[in-house]
Symmetry: D3
Subunit: 135 residues, 6 copies
């Protein structure tokens, strides 16, 4: 019997959206004030979902306390109170949009979660803008 | 690589649920106090989701600032501070349930969003009653 | 020993802001789209606070289940799914702004709550616009 | 035309996570403080979703006021202010994890909802831990 | 220059409302289903507010990371995943209403916070029932 | 008759907490990861409250649509998508703590709101950390 278990987490970070191969004008035309030179920042809210089989002895798909710990060590400790453009090498040549950041987080979690399950990442950049990624 | 980008919006409107082909008694039996003569109203919360391909140069599926603008011009400017039964011709012969209102909004957005993507509309009539439509 | 006990409730209603002694132009200039002819509506969120003495035997200021019942009979049953301008005589000659509606609710509750306490009413017209009244 | 209609509800209950076939040590190692002897408790938030056909005459999939009543009689009246381990026979030999509780609720609702539809149950144990079950 | 700094926290616990000096009938008449024998429980949300002077060198009234630590050690570690009636000696002869629990928490914090400030405790038993205590 | 009218707004910005007169070690000891070199950021939620007299003709203390406009021009346009340390001269010699930022916003609003009223600013740096300033 399959079911989805979900855990919320959060971190905050600075970033800007800027394509280094473009002129400042094209960046402003594309990304607006999100491309401002000196960065801005967000309180990111993260939801991680695991879709898998319920273990009969524990009645759980995956211990959510353990998932909380994995999210902390793999995501929060890495990204919290950081500048995504400067501090995270992955974004040297990728723009830290919510889309790309979701996939970065998904990849980190996929390596750390060792059960057979489908993983979804939902990432709120603001309470009004968010992204969902499942694979 | 496909992902879902999401944007929240809101508007408020008056409406009543009333089938013109029915007696007042049958309307009350079916719709309860939602069929009261003089209308009532809601703060509608709207979530629009686009599932599509990430553009490699921008790192985005669709610019959420642009989506915000489309939702404003296609939905909020039309419905905000209006009476759905009286001011919106579409509801001359359709009951403005959350179901029908979701489909109305989906159709407006489908015409205005010019990329290849699947569109979902989630519409909260109250914090406890809501509808999801995807196509 | 004095403390404040609080209870949330909600109702939805239609209204418009319109001063009958003014021209339509002056109403539009003052109230904008809130003065639209055919009404609009809101999901009102209501918080009622009672500041009073803790009873030593019950450990409570006022039974919140009883307060829930009073809010239902005095406020929700009266206002829910109604048109404030048409269905509520109090607003025959008062504009149903959130300010005036808060005072109307406060007066209803003050008559029904029979203990020595200070009453506050917090009324959300939308998640972003609200009013607080204490007396 | 198919669409999903959703209703939120809530109840609160005490429970502990404890496998009777295990030693106290193994229970603590597996469930941590959730296995504390004297129980703890939660405000459960429940979302019920029905995916089905819109009725042309009512414009609704299922009357949400009726769904509210079913959730009350089938779920809230049974579980609210109860001890899941002691008061609910279903959990005599099942651990009341959020996963198992979701399936228990789904089964109760499936018997009571008499239309052709797919039912989802989303159950929040805390604002940060939740489960989704669809069948 | 004085200002208020605030920190949210949470814990969950089981309890029942029961006056040992009363008959079961009087307890049921007073506390309703909150007096059920086998306990029920809540996710308590706690807000702690300190009103004091801004330090000129740090620009802060009190380090909120330090306040987070004090709330954890003084409140969460003590109450989280516990049965208030059984596990907390303070409630041997006091009923664990939200009022009494707020005052218990306020007293714990008052001893641990060593600056000159006014302390407020806001405690949500459910999203709809809460208490505010200031001294 | 006096009452409080309230309006929510939001903006996001980058900042770091760093006292230029201190060593890096003392900054880290005082501000922890909030002092990280390359900035981090937040979605700030702002509530502005005006306590004043209800105008008899309009039934309002202050037009909340006008207040929305003042908050936009005085606060959001200035701070949104900015780096508080670099882009806002006021923070050249003040640390952009939530306390100092609240007072900065209060001063901006006090100059722009031309009625006799008491103004409160509530500023959320994160959903768990916030500040209230009234004068």
């Amino acid at each position: 019997m399959k079911i989805t278990v979900c855990r919320k987490a959060h971190f905050n970070a600075a970033h800007k959206l800027y394509n280094k191969n473009w002129s400042k004008e094209k960046n402003t035309a594309t990304f607006g004030k999100c491309s401002n030179d000196n960065f801005h920042g967000h309180n990111y809210e993260l939801i991680v979902k695991l879709y898998g089989e319920i273990d009969k002895e524990t009645g759980m798909v995956f211990d959510l306390a353990k998932l909380k710990g994995i999210i902390k060590s793999e995501v929060e400790d890495l990204l919290d109170h950081k500048n995504l453009n400067i501090d995270i090498p992955y974004f040297n040549d990728k723009i830290p949009t919510t889309e790309n950041l979701s996939i970065f987080i998904w990849e980190k979690l996929r390596k750390a979660i060792d059960i057979d399950c489908k993983i979804s990442v939902i990432l709120y950049e603001t309470p009004r803008n968010f992204v969902e990624y499942t694979a």
